[in-house]
């Protein structure tokens, strides 16, 4: 099996609070993976370790065979759960900013995605609604030719039209050479786009499986399973 991310006995401790406790998972190349769990289950900590923002306290993580650092940051494109653009910019500036920052940024693709998301490149960041900001951030993140895309809560707080555009952008931009890791607590809205599911509970991997196998075995959709596990 071709693993893009290998995690072995990984733990993260903040003073005496355990955020991640002895996690081991391997993530296969070319899949869309959902990381599910309530607030405080360790999702964001795990993502921050994958994106190289945080360092683990114990254990090992390899991304494309390398420990997190300059190389892994160059192949991981990350959508944080909040806006990361300066309010004084307009969309065009934001694209130029991204192009400056990332070698793998495809400007043409960014403009295509703007079009797809129905965004105007002259709009100011400060004038955008929450849904528009989310769509812009996602367009920028997907315009990098990355091996791994990490999307933290990509549809949180957006209206149904924006949600559908975001889901379509994710599906259209998914390909066999890249891996998408997505966290969400809006399980019902997103579950059908996940191939594999990882349930995190209190800093541990509660369950990691193929989504369709889970549906077949448990005779329920992932959303119902989520409620059973965390309800």
């Amino acid at each position: 099996m071709d693993y893009i991310i290998e995690i072995k006995e990984l733990s993260k401790q903040y003073f005496n609070k355990k955020a991640l406790n002895n996690i081991s998972i391997n993530i296969e190349k070319g899949k869309i993976i959902g990381i599910l769990g309530p607030n405080g289950s360790g999702k964001t900590t795990l993502i921050k370790i994958i994106t190289g923002i945080l360092r683990q306290s114990k254990g090992e993580i390899k991304i494309d065979g390398k420990t997190p650092g300059v190389y892994t940051k160059s192949i991981v494109s990350y959508l944080p759960d909040r806006n990361f653009l300066y309010p004084w910019m307009n969309i065009k500036d934001a694209i130029a900013f991204y192009k400056d920052f990332y070698k793998d940024f495809d400007e043409k693709k960014a403009y295509e995605l703007l079009d797809f998301m129905k965004l105007n490149s002259k709009s100011k960041i400060s004038s955008l609604s929450k849904g528009m900001t989310e769509k812009l951030n996602l367009a920028l993140v997907l315009s990098r030719k990355a091996k791994v895309y990490v999307l933290d809560e990509p549809i949180a707080g957006v209206d149904p039209v924006a949600r559908d555009q975001i889901l379509n952008a994710i599906i259209e931009n998914y390909n066999k050479d890249s891996t998408m890791i997505i966290t969400t607590h809006l399980v019902r809205d997103m579950e059908s786009i996940f191939e594999d599911i990882i349930f995190l509970k209190e800093g541990e991997v509660f369950l990691a499986r193929n989504a369709e196998e889970l549906r077949e075995e448990r005779k329920m959709q992932i959303d119902d399973l989520y409620k059973e596990i965390f309800g």
Partner: protein
């Protein structure tokens, strides 16, 4: 699209496509939407759609033409058989549930006749 059944999504998609075939919405020999298109239409992982197409092919309802896409079978008889089978299954399940509610066959027929009149 929301999937509410207690079934995996790929089987639900197979059912949607079978319905489209027997109803004539998809004609014999007609090209199915591409995996990518159906994937965005239904908001479903492309690999799940791919699996539905593969299973439909295994069951003989569609065939793949390399580099051209997936097509509905040209075998009209086979489609007619599927239509029969789907109808029979529906009726069977309906009868099981009516019996579970305590209805006699005669009463069921009466109810159906009543319903038909109302619809006319």
């Amino acid at each position: 699209m929301m999937f509410n059944d207690h079934l995996p999504i790929y089987t639900q998609i197979m059912d949607i496509i079978k319905q489209r075939i027997v109803s004539g919405a998809l004609r014999e020999g007609e090209k199915l939407p591409s995996v990518r298109d159906l994937s965005t239409e239904l908001k479903v992982n492309p690999n799940t759609i791919q699996r539905s197409y593969q299973e439909l092919e295994r069951e003989g309802f569609v065939f793949t033409q390399r580099g051209m896409g997936t097509f509905v079978t040209e075998d009209k008889e086979y489609i007619a058989k599927l239509k029969d089978y789907m109808a029979t299954t529906l009726v069977k399940n309906f009868m099981i549930e009516m019996k579970a509610l305590g209805f006699e066959v005669k009463q069921v027929i009466e109810l159906i006749n009543q319903q038909i009149k109302e619809e006319q």
